[in-house]
Amino acid sequence: MASAETANVALRPDELRRIAERLGREPSVVELHAFDAQWSEHCSYKSSRHHLKTLPTDGASVVLGPAEDSGILHLGEHDGERYGIVIAHESHNHPSQVVPFEGAATGIGGIVRDVLCMGAEVIAVADPLRFGRVDDAQSHQRYVAQGAVDGISAYGNAIGVPNIAGDVYFDERFDDNCLVNVVAMGIVKESEIIHSYAPKGAGGWDIVLVGKATDPSGFGGASFSSLTLDAADEASNKGAVQVPDPFLKNVLMRASYRVFGYLRERKLTVGFKDLGAGGIMGCSAEICSAGGYGATIDLDKVNLAIDGLKPEVIAVGETQERLIWVLPPEITADVLRIYNEEFTLPQIAHNARAVVIGTVTDETRYVLRHHGETVMDVEIDFLTGSIRDELPYAQPAPSAAEERPLVTGVQLDELLERVLAHRDVCSREPLYRRYDSVVRGCTVLPRGAADAGVLAPVPGAPLGVALGVAGNPRYAKLDPRLAAEHAVYEAVRRVVAVGARPIGLTDCLNFGNPRKPDHLGEFVASIAGLAQASAAFDAPYVSGNVSLYNESAGGKAIPASPIVACVGAIEDVAHVVTMPLKAAGSVLYYIGRPQNALGGSVLLDVLGRHEAVLPRIDYDFAAAQHALVLNAARANLLRSAHQVGNGGLATALCEMAFPTLRRGRAPIGVQIDEPWQWTHGAVGDLEALFAETGGFVVEIAAADVEAFEGLADDVEGVWEIGVTTDQPVLAIDDEAFDLHRLRDVWSAPLREVYP
C-alpha cells in the first residue's frame, strides 16, 4: 500500500479515489507512478483535449491526422510512389529552463524518435525558441539562451539531421519560463508507414525494447512538466531531466533504417513506438491498448545501466534513446541481430541493446512483473483511456477602442537603425550558424536563405518540401486569439514566399496554468484563432502538443504562445524562390495592404508607445495574394521574394539587400518611391514602411513586368513600390541610407549572446 505523498506523485485526491475505486484496492507504488505519468496533463491532455477537438484535422493532403506519435501529409508522387511528410512538434520548456543544454538536446532527441517510429527517415528539425532578457551576461536567462542553443546544436548535428527552420524572441515574460519548441520532419513512402499500435493478430507477439540501458534519469518527467516551475524545487527537478546521447541515437537511427528495409523486403506489418513520457510503461501500454490488446512486461528483462533500480523507476523512468517494437516472434531474432551485432549497440553505449521484455496479450490487462511478483495489474484502457478535466475559463477582455495617431516627428534614419537592431528583428545568423543546416545533402534552402527552409527529400526526384515556423509573443500579449491567427498566417506566408503550397500545420500550444480561469481563457481564445485561420487557408493540423503550467512560483506566466509550423509542397524545386535580390534594374512590388494598426509592432516598441489594436487578417485578400505568389513562382517570374513580418516593409527590403553585400559580388540596392503614392494616403509613410500587416515583397525582372502584372490583374493590393539599383544604398524618396552601415547595425546584437 502506498500514499500519494510518500510516493511523491502529483495525482490529486479525486484522481486517487477514482483509481482505488476502480481497482477495488489501494494501488501499489508502481501503479501510483504509472497513473501519475499517464494521467498527467503531459500524457492525457485532460484539461485541453476537449478544446483541441475544435481544430480542423482533415483535408485532401492528410494521410494521418493527430492520433499517433506524428502526423503525415501527402507530399507528391514520383516514379509511381506516393511520398508522405511525417511531422511532429513538441515542447521541452521545463527541462530547458532548469538544465538548458540537456533539456533542449533531449527535446530534439524525443521529437526525432516520434518521426522515426512511423517508419520514416528523419530529414529535418526546426526550433522555435522564446527566451527571457539576455542583456546581462551573468544572468540565468543568458545561460538558458546559450545552453539551449548549444544543446540543440550538439544533438542535431551529431545525429546528422539538418536544422532548416526556426525563430527566436526575447521577452521579459520568458525570464522564468523559456520555451524550447522542437519540430521534426521525416519522409516515408505512404505504402510503408509503420504505426504506433500492435497490428491485427498481434496477440502473443514479442514486445522488444531497443536502445539505451534504463537508468534513474528522467524519473517523474511527465508530471514534472505538468507542474509549475518553482525555483526552490529546481534542484530536485533536475533529477527529472533526461540525459541525451546523440552518439547512440545516431547509430540507433541507422540500425532502425536497416530494420525498416528488412520489414519492407518481407512486407511485414508491425508496431513501433517512441518511449517518451511514462517510459517503458507508457509506451508499451499505449502501443498495445491502441491495437485492442493487453501486455505483460517482465521488468527483470530490461537492460539496466545500474543494478538495484526500483520497479517504478524501471517502469516509468524516462531514460532517453529508447523505442519499443511489437514483432511477430519469428523475426525477433533477426531484428535483435541487426541492432546488437550488425550495429553493435552494446559496444556503442554501456549495456545498450535490443531485448525482448514482454508479450502482447489478448486479455486487455496491463501487467508488470518484477522479481517474480506482479507489481502492477490494471485494465489497460483504464490506464491509457482519456480522462477529462473540465476547468472553468474566462475569455480575455476585448481591447478597448483607442486613439491611434499617425507616427510623426521621428527621423527615418534613426528609426530604421533602431528597428533593425531590435531584439526581434536583428540577424539570427550568430545563432543558427551553430546548426548544421545542410547535412544529408538534400538541403535546397538552408537557414537564413529564405523565409522557410526547403529540402529535396527524395533523391532523384524534383519534389521539394518547405518548413516555416511562426508565433509572435508581442502580439500574444495583446490578443491571444488574433495572435494565434497571425501565427498561422505568418507560417503559411513563409512557406508561400519560397514558392511552396501550404499543405498542413502542426501546433505547439504553450500557456500558463489551466487552473487559473484567465490563463485557460487565453488558451481557449487561441484555439479559436488557430481553428479559424487553419480553415481559411485550408491547412489542417496533423500533429501538435500542449505545454501548460508555464508559470513560475511567483505566479508569473508566459504570454499566450501558440506556435505554428507549416509544411509546404513543391512540385519541382526548380521553381523555388530565395530572398536575396538578384539584379539591379528589377521592379519591386509590395503585395499586401498597409493598415493603421501598429499594436504589437517593433516600431511602437522602439518608440516606447503602446497600442492594443493588432492588424486584422482579411483571409480572402490573403488567399488571393498567396495564389498570385505561387503562380508567379511557378512561371519563374520571381527573382526573389520575402514575406513582410517583424519590422515591416523597410526591414524586409533591407534583408533582401544585405546578402548582396558580399565580397566578390556586385551589391544591389533599393530605390523606393514616395510611399504615399501607392498607399494613397490611407496611412502615413512610417506606417507604410514599418507596419506588420503581412504580405510580400517580390522582385520582378523588367522584361517580366508585363507577365507579372497580367497574373496580378484581378488581385487586390499589388503595388509597384520601386526598383533595384547597383548602389549599396536603401533610398526612400530623397533620403538615402548606407546599406553597409544598416547591415552592421542589424548583424551585431546577437553576436554578443552567440559569439
Binding site: 547509430v251 559496444q347 550558424r433 548544421d436 545542410v438 547535412v439 524545386v573 566578390g664 559569439p755
Partner: protein, 255 residues
C-alpha cells in the same frame, strides 16, 4: 574494369548517404561498409571517409576512429598506393591516423584539425576553396583546373589546422596544402577563413599525393539544386559545383 570504392561508416558517421550518392552520380562504383564488417575493406580499391562525429569526437575529433579496425585496412591500402579521400570528420581521422601529411609514423599525428578559433564553436557556413597546388601533384586532383575555385559547406567545431611552426613550414614548403579558403571571387585573406586554420588551410594532401584530407563538404554543394546561382539553365538534379572533386576522384580511381 570499374574499381570499387568503399564509403566507410564508423559509429557516429552522419554523411555517408549523400557522399555515396554523389560518388555514384559521378560514375563511382561505391558501397557503404560498416564498422562491424571491417574485413570487407580489403577487397576495395579506394576509400572515402565521410563526415560525422565518429566515436563522438572523444578526446579529439578522429582520435579514436584512427584506431578502429577499419583504419588498419585503410592504412595498409594507402601505403600500397590506393586512393583515400577524407571529408570533414574523415579528414580529421586521416590526420589522426598519420596518413596526412604522412611524413611521420602511422598513428602518430604531426598535425591536427582541432578546436575552431576564435570561438570554439561548431559553425555551419558556405565557403569557397581554392586549389593551392599543381593539380598534377595528386591523382585525386588531376581533373581540376589550376587554381580551381570549388564551393562547399564548412560545418565543424574542430577544423582549425594546428601544428608546430616547424611542421607548418614543412606542410607549406612540401606542397601539402592542397586547398585554401577563399572568397567567391578567388581572392584570399584571413576573413575568408571560417575557423582560423593555420595557412588558411582547407585541405591537406600527403607526400605521395594519394591521400586527401578536406575539412569542407563539397557534396553538400554538389548538385545544382544546392545552389541558387546555378539553377537557371541547368538541370536541377545534375551534379555540379563541388561535384568536380568527386568526378576527379572517381576518374583517378578508375584510371
Amino acid at each position: 574494369m570499374t574499381k570499387k570504392i568503399a564509403v566507410l561508416v564508423f559509429p557516429g558517421t552522419n554523411s555517408e548517404e549523400e557522399t555515396l550518392r554523389l560518388l555514384r552520380a559521378c560514375g563511382g562504383d561505391a558501397h557503404l561498409v560498416h564498422w562491424s564488417r571491417a574485413a570487407l575493406l580489403r577487397d576495395f580499391d579506394a576509400y572515402v571517409l565521410p563526415g560525422g562525429f565518429a566515436y563522438e569526437d572523444r578526446i579529439r575529433a578522429g582520435a579514436i576512429a584512427a584506431h578502429d579496425e577499419m583504419m588498419d585496412y585503410v592504412i595498409e591500402g594507402a601505403q600500397a598506393g590506393k586512393l583515400v579521400y577524407g571529408i570533414c570528420n574523415g579528414a580529421q581521422i586521416l590526420l589522426e591516423a598519420g596518413l596526412v601529411p604522412g611524413t611521420g609514423e602511422v598513428r602518430r599525428p604531426t598535425a591536427a584539425f582541432t578546436r575552431n578559433g576564435p570561438v570554439p564553436h561548431f559553425v555551419c557556413t558556405h565557403v569557397w576553396m581554392k586549389l593551392a597546388i599543381d593539380p598534377q601533384r595528386s591523382p585525386i586532383l588531376r581533373g581540376l583546373e589550376r587554381g580551381a575555385l570549388v564551393p562547399a559547406w564548412s560545418a565543424h567545431g574542430e577544423g582549425r589546422l594546428a601544428a608546430t611552426a616547424e611542421e607548418l613550414r614543412a606542410l607549406r614548403d612540401g606542397g601539402h596544402v592542397a586547398f585554401v579558403y577563399a572568397h567567391e571571387d578567388g581572392s584570399v585573406d584571413d576573413s575568408a577563413i571560417p575557423n582560423q586554420a593555420a595557412l588558411g588551410c582547407a585541405a591537406l594532401v600527403n607526400r605521395a599525393g594519394n591521400v586527401l584530407a578536406m575539412m569542407p563538404h563539397p557534396e553538400r554543394d554538389g548538385w545544382t539544386f544546392h545552389h541558387p546561382d546555378r539553377r537557371r539553365g541547368n538541370a536541377m538534379l545534375e551534379p555540379s559545383g563541388g561535384a568536380v572533386l568527386f568526378r576527379s576522384f572517381v576518374q583517378a580511381v578508375n584510371a
